[in-house]
Symmetry: C2
Subunit: 288 residues, 2 copies
């Protein structure tokens, strides 16, 4: 796993040269290269590997997905959004580069990332086009951004659907969209069948939901040092979370049940990496 | 020309259904469909027509370029950017939908637009991929956003290059990028040769520069009613413009000289539409 993280870090650095006007490239690169677990790119690469594809050819896409993730974090941290001064233990983008540059850095990543996929993938045009299509679909108003919008609405007390449906929608889209993008892209690069794509997608969807429940629980019980961002923020904002809606125990049960489903799907692919990631989450929640 | 504008308006409306969560789709659609001249999509469609291509197949791309333009306007108007309360005579996006939704609406348009090109163009994968590539390149940190960043730097008195070079860079990228994207995309859809692409690109570049000089002059001499946005804003901010740097007369001369070059390139394509657009600008500047 550390191998893949190092590979992604090396490539992220390589793919993002600082050219004129430096302010924008520095701002883009700052958040993208903050030390992190590189979960989404690793999920993409591991999907390619476990399906027998060429991991090398997946690197631009894996990095593009990390850039999309960073983009959502940069804009999420803005004062008009979640207003968070820290991210991964460091000052957030707008605290370092100013709000205007942070807005533009996020914007720039949204086109830089698919540009990278097109320029560097060395795959047939049909495959590349499919990858870019997945990127635009899961990164946009029908998925990732839909989740963010409903999240903001719910914070403002504006619920169009029931609290349960609303929370599910937020989680499926905010976290689930990028997980699905990562693993669907990996499947496409490896040339997986429609059936495989369906299975992998189902895993990513459930794992995304489980991961977000995990995140809700951690936000409830952790300190700033552990999280690298302001802790207990969700609770303080009166935000809709699995814990606020169902309580800690039911949230934990829901997490466990989703994890069982995930093991059930992933077992036939013999992936140590996915198994390890899942075990790590489970271990951290032991005793909660 | 009005035919093409109407066609673009009809398609923009058709391509943007309002679905759950409605807030984001309404915010996206609001700025995209504000009444306007649809200059960039018309330039794209007219390029296709004059090169003998299928205008119908260019509609998704033309509309995507208008969406990219709207995206840049939405984020440009934000309080942390140009802080403008009006756009095309109407309240700007964040005044209607709030800042958070305006940020997200801009983000969403950046992936919605290429998604539209991929979903609706009905062109060979190679061609569609080229179109998306142009979109990501001209819409991003190497072009449109580079222009915006240097614009912001120069407003803050931070000039890395000379004022003349800086202003040229801003104009070539802020306005030029979308003009070039529009006409290059049109050429690609029509199947134009590399030589044609080069000529068309040169026209778009020069016309973009001329258009921005025109805009600088108009901002200097017009009222709110005529512009549909706060007038004299550039002057009040001490912004670097052709007029502030070279004076009104030299700016006008530069405009005239660029227009001559543009006529020289476009004449062999027999385009009433381009000729009319150019004449309209010239007429408005008569007597300035």
């Amino acid at each position: 796993m550390q191998n893949l993280i190092d590979l992604v870090d090396k490539k992220l650095n390589e793919y993002m040269p600082i050219v004129y006007p430096e302010d924008i490239f520095k701002a883009m690169k700052y958040t993208v290269t903050l030390p992190g677990k590189r979960l989404r790119p690793v999920m993409c690469l591991e999907t390619v590997r476990m399906l027998g594809g060429d991991v090398e050819k997946a690197l631009p896409t894996a990095c593009a997905i990390e850039m999309l993730h960073a983009q959502s974090l940069i804009h999420d941290d803005l004062p008009c959004m979640d207003n968070d001064d820290f991210r991964r233990g460091k000052p957030s983008n707008h605290k370092v580069f100013g709000e205007a540059n942070a807005v533009l850095a996020g914007d720039a990543l949204l086109t830089f990332a698919p540009q990278l996929i097109i320029e560097k993938s060395e795959l047939p045009a049909e495959t590349t086009l499919k990858l870019v299509y997945e990127f635009t679909k899961w990164g946009g108003a029908y998925a990732l951004i839909a989740g963010q919008v409903v999240d903001i609405q719910s914070e403002g007390g504006k619920l169009i659907k029931s609290p349960e449906e609303t929370l599910n929608f937020i989680h499926l889209n905010k976290t689930g969209a990028l997980f699905r993008l990562a693993m669907r892209s990996g499947t496409i690069i490896a040339g997986g069948s429609e059936k495989t794509l369906g299975e992998i997608d189902e895993f990513a969807k459930k794992f995304g939901l489980a991961f977000q429940i995990y995140d809700d629980i951690m936000d409830e019980i952790s300190s700033f040092e552990e999280l690298g961002k302001t802790a207990g923020k969700d609770k303080n904002c009166g935000k809709l979370t699995y814990v606020s809606l169902y309580g800690l125990e039911d949230a934990k049960n829901k997490f466990d049940s989703l994890m069982l489903d995930c093991y059930d799907i992933i077992k036939k692919y013999n992936s140590n990496i996915f198994t390890n990631i899942m075990k790590k989450l489970e271990n951290r929640l032991l005793g909660v």
